[in-house]
């Protein structure tokens, strides 16, 4: 049965990938990419990687689709025809692909117990994480504690992306035309009434779900990354349907900047507290008298830091894309 589901999911993925390559209508491509994300997420559920599945659903089917939609508004809906035949690229892809297949030929079978990747570090995490970290979700234990420094690095990657987008796209002059309130286009506003009604009802639930994922990450699948993405998509959805001005009135862009920096500082700060207590960087045991409770406190705090930075960075990227579009339109007029 599982094999059957896998075969169907993977062949769908292949078909969608081919369709994406062939299509010239970028709107359709983005929708297909969203479906691709959702299908990959389903595939990850089937292979029991639920944490990855939630992330893929939130990124691939969620935020990615929204950001790409905003990008097409700027770049135009249709792809331009290729000016040359990318034969060299095809050759490189062919060689890389064959090498990968060659390399996978003596790969141990999926889920094969005695394979080296299940024997060494893996089994330590499975057997010892409950007594060493005390968190039921092993993925969270590895992510936030054993390899917490990697996660800090990943968070920094997202922060870097946000700063890079701001550095390149942020407006150089204060645009006074944006100060007015209300929707930008009356006609569109009327047309979208049903969507807005549905979204308005949905948004509280999306946010509630985000907070559930945020604070439940140590017990079930989820954590700061996923929660930040889901919360951000709620705000982005709101901004797309009710106008960017209304959204900016709720929370100002400067606040998001500070929040994204705060998330990193919170994560790093937990590490520095450990340093000041004479322990190693990011050793959460010192946060509380009982080392296990300390681990738990540490994980909750760093997950909160992750949530803050991911959430605010996603919104900053969206805002900068969107404002760029507005400036471009202003420039045309």
């Amino acid at each position: 049965m599982e094999l059957f589901v896998n075969v169907i999911l993977l062949s769908f993925l292949l078909a969608i990938a081919l369709a994406i390559v062939r299509m010239k209508d970028l709107f359709a491509v983005i929708m297909l990419a969203g479906i691709y994300g959702l299908l990959s997420a389903s595939f990850f559920v089937v292979v029991d990687a639920v944490d990855v599945a939630i992330t893929e659903a939130a990124v691939g089917a969620g935020v990615f689709t929204l950001l790409m939609l905003v990008a097409t508004v700027m770049a135009g809906r249709y792809e331009q025809g290729a000016r040359h035949k990318p034969l060299l690229a095809l050759a490189v892809v062919f060689i890389t692909g064959s090498l990968l297949i060659y390399g996978s030929l003596d790969m141990p079978a999926f889920g094969y117990g005695p394979a080296p990747d299940h024997q060494h570090v893996d089994s330590h995490y499975i057997n010892e994480s409950m007594s060493e970290v005390g968190v039921p979700n092993i993925v969270t234990a590895v992510l936030a504690s054993y390899r917490g420094f990697d996660t800090l690095g990943e968070l920094l990657v997202i922060f870097t992306a946000g700063v890079a987008v701001m550095a390149l796209l942020s407006t150089l002059y204060d645009s006074h035309s944006n100060l007015g309130t209300g929707p930008e286009n009356k006609w569109l506003y009327e047309q979208q009434m049903p969507i807005r009604l549905v979204v308005k009802i949905l948004i509280p639930f999306i946010m509630l779900f985000a907070f559930y994922i945020q604070f439940h990450g140590d017990y079930g699948p989820g954590g700061g990354f996923q929660a930040g993405l889901i919360l951000a998509s709620a705000i982005i959805l709101y901004a797309m349907l009710f106008g960017i001005r209304t959204a900016k009135q709720v929370i100002s862009p400067r606040f998001y900047q500070c929040l994204s920096a705060f998330g990193i500082l919170l994560y790093g700060g937990v590490g520095v507290v450990a340093l000041l207590n004479g322990e190693h960087f990011l050793d959460y045991s010192v946060l509380f008298t009982d080392p296990l409770a300390g681990q738990h406190v540490g994980i909750v705090l760093v997950e909160l830091g992750i949530g803050c930075t991911v959430f605010s960075t996603m919104i900053l990227i969206f805002l900068n894309f969107y404002e760029r579009k507005n400036n471009q339109l202003d420039g045309c007029q």
Binding site: G103, P116, G153, A164, A167, A261, L265
Partner: protein
């Protein structure tokens, strides 16, 4: 606090970067950035001293023991690289405040400093870590921030250059990740030391061979090794001039480090040089890199392009030293990593001063510049001499060591070819000097005989670097000693 040294030099810029975003006033942000970078430099000096005195240091992040958690591992090689990166970063940052004044709008300067610090974090993180996946994470930080920094260039072609670099760099990083994933699959560990012990058992499998091939190609993309160098010239030429000075001295050096670390410490010498005919491949690519890039440099009109191509040629020298695969050869490579960082940062920083004063980037605009900016042009001449390899400069030292290593190995023809290639360096450096010293100033400019020397905030860092070029060309104790120690420990001659 001394036991925390290995991690502190990464933590300081890591925490300073978000703080900079909170402050958001360019002047204060600059001060904070330079403090953080300076502190990192001090820490890396202490670290090198510790390593030389007491041998390699390890540090368990999060207090978790090595294969379960992430480990920092500082030996001679890392400490040497850390010193180079933090020193160059600090000197360049010192000049940054003035240099970006005209190139980056004041509203974006805060973001510039944040990205600068992030790329410093990324490079230091790559160099300090003893964990293969952690290396990839910090590689991503350094790559992403460098795309942003390059795209900040005033010329709109900077965007295209950054985009090309982004595509090539992402392919490189993905290849490295695929390699790390395959290694994990075959060994169940990500710790480099642990990997080096477990890989020999499975060395004959196709997966490990594939992992090795992907990592080598991925690193070579990052390294801009000929013929994978296509992203480099434009990225260097159109980036803000201060960014070019910073990256030309650090980014490709970090990639060289990654190559050495993976081949020597993770896969091990015997595997690395037998799985693929690596010696031959790198020797041929290194030599053709020297010739093709030097010839390309001769025909460039943009001065930043000239020296960008020269960087690709010099990567060729480093790779040839590596391909000799003897202690002497590796010493020459490491020595050239150090020395090339000094020459190129001096050259590009001096160019930044020229661009600040005159906006000149094309060769014809350099006519008669020696009268206008005598001190800056003198710096370019000295750094150019170092690039050529004139005695009493650092360039001489590393090329001398490379020649000796080649001759010891019996590779006479290669030594001759390198000397021939070096003549090409003389040609392209001479073209710049001839323009500046032996041509009258351009006529269309208003006749102004007063000197227009660059401000001291730029001249001082330039001359610090030029002085370093000469100092380390005469007193070679530090560079040679550490490079030799690092090479010996990598070959297992000394523990």
């Amino acid at each position: 606090m001394l036991s925390h040294l290995p991690v502190l030099q990464v933590i300081v810029p890591l925490m300073a970067a978000p703080l900079c975003l909170l402050i958001a006033k360019p002047k204060w942000v600059w001060l904070l950035a330079i403090t953080a970078s300076g502190l990192t430099f001090v820490l890396s000096c202490l670290l090198l001293q510790q390593v030389v005195a007491a041998g390699p240091l390890t540090y368990e992040l999060g207090g978790w023991e090595a294969p379960w958690g992430i480990e920092y591992r500082i030996d001679y090689l890392n400490a040497f690289l850390l010193l180079i990166i933090s020193a160059i970063s600090t000197v360049v940052l010192f000049a940054a405040h003035t240099a970006i004044e005209k190139e980056i709008p004041s509203k974006r300067q805060t973001f510039f400093y944040v990205l600068y610090l992030l790329s410093l974090v990324g490079m230091l993180g790559i160099v300090s870590t003893g964990d293969a996946f952690n290396l990839f994470v910090f590689l991503e930080i350094s790559s992403l921030s460098s795309y942003g920094l390059i795209a900040l260039g005033k010329d709109r072609r900077a965007l295209w250059a950054a985009y090309q670099y982004l595509i090539m760099g992402t392919i490189g990083a993905t290849f490295i990740l695929i390699g790390i994933g395959l290694m994990y699959q075959m060994t169940g560990t990500l710790n480099m030391e642990d990997l080096s012990m477990r890989l020999p058992e499975v060395a004959q499998t196709r997966s490990v061979f594939t992992a090795f091939a992907f990592i080598i190609v991925g690193v070579c993309l990052k390294l801009a090794l000929f013929p994978l160098h296509l992203w480099l010239p434009n990225a260097y030429a159109y980036a803000p001039s201060i960014v070019t000075a910073y990256f030309s001295a650090t980014a490709t050096k970090v990639a060289i480090y990654v190559l050495i670390r993976f081949t020597f410490s993770v896969f091990g010498l015997s595997f690395s040089f037998t799985a693929l005919p690596l010696q031959m491949i790198f020797l041929v690519l290194g030599l053709s890199g020297i010739f093709m890039a030097s010839i390309a440099a001769i025909y460039q009109q943009n001065v930043k392009h000239i020296f960008a191509y020269s960087s690709i040629a010099h990567i060729g020298y480093m790779i040839i030293g590596y391909s000799i695969s003897t202690v002497a050869g590796l010493t020459a490579t490491l020595l050239h990593v150090f020395n090339h960082a000094l020459m190129k940062s001096a050259l590009f920083l001096a160019l930044a001063a020229v661009i600040y004063r005159t906006g000149a980037v094309y060769l014809y605009q350099f006519q008669g510049l020696s009268q206008k900016m005598p001190l800056t042009m003198a710096a370019i001449v000295l750094a150019g001499l170092s690039l050529i390899g004139a005695p009493l400069t650092v360039g001489f030292v590393s090329k001398w060591y490379l020649l000796i290593a080649l001759i010891e190995r019996g590779w006479w023809p290669v030594a001759v070819l390198i000397l021939l290639g070096n003549l090409l360096t003389v040609v392209y450096v001479w073209r710049v000097i001839e323009m500046a010293y032996f041509r009258p100033p351009l006529r269309q400019q208003p006749v102004d005989h007063s000197k227009q020397e660059a401000p001291y905030s730029l001249l001082l860092p330039v001359w610090i670097l030029v002085a370093a070029n000469i100092y380390f060309g005469i007193d070679t104790r530090l560079s040679i000693q550490v490079a030799e120690l690092a090479a010996q420990s990598l070959f297992g001659v000394r523990q």
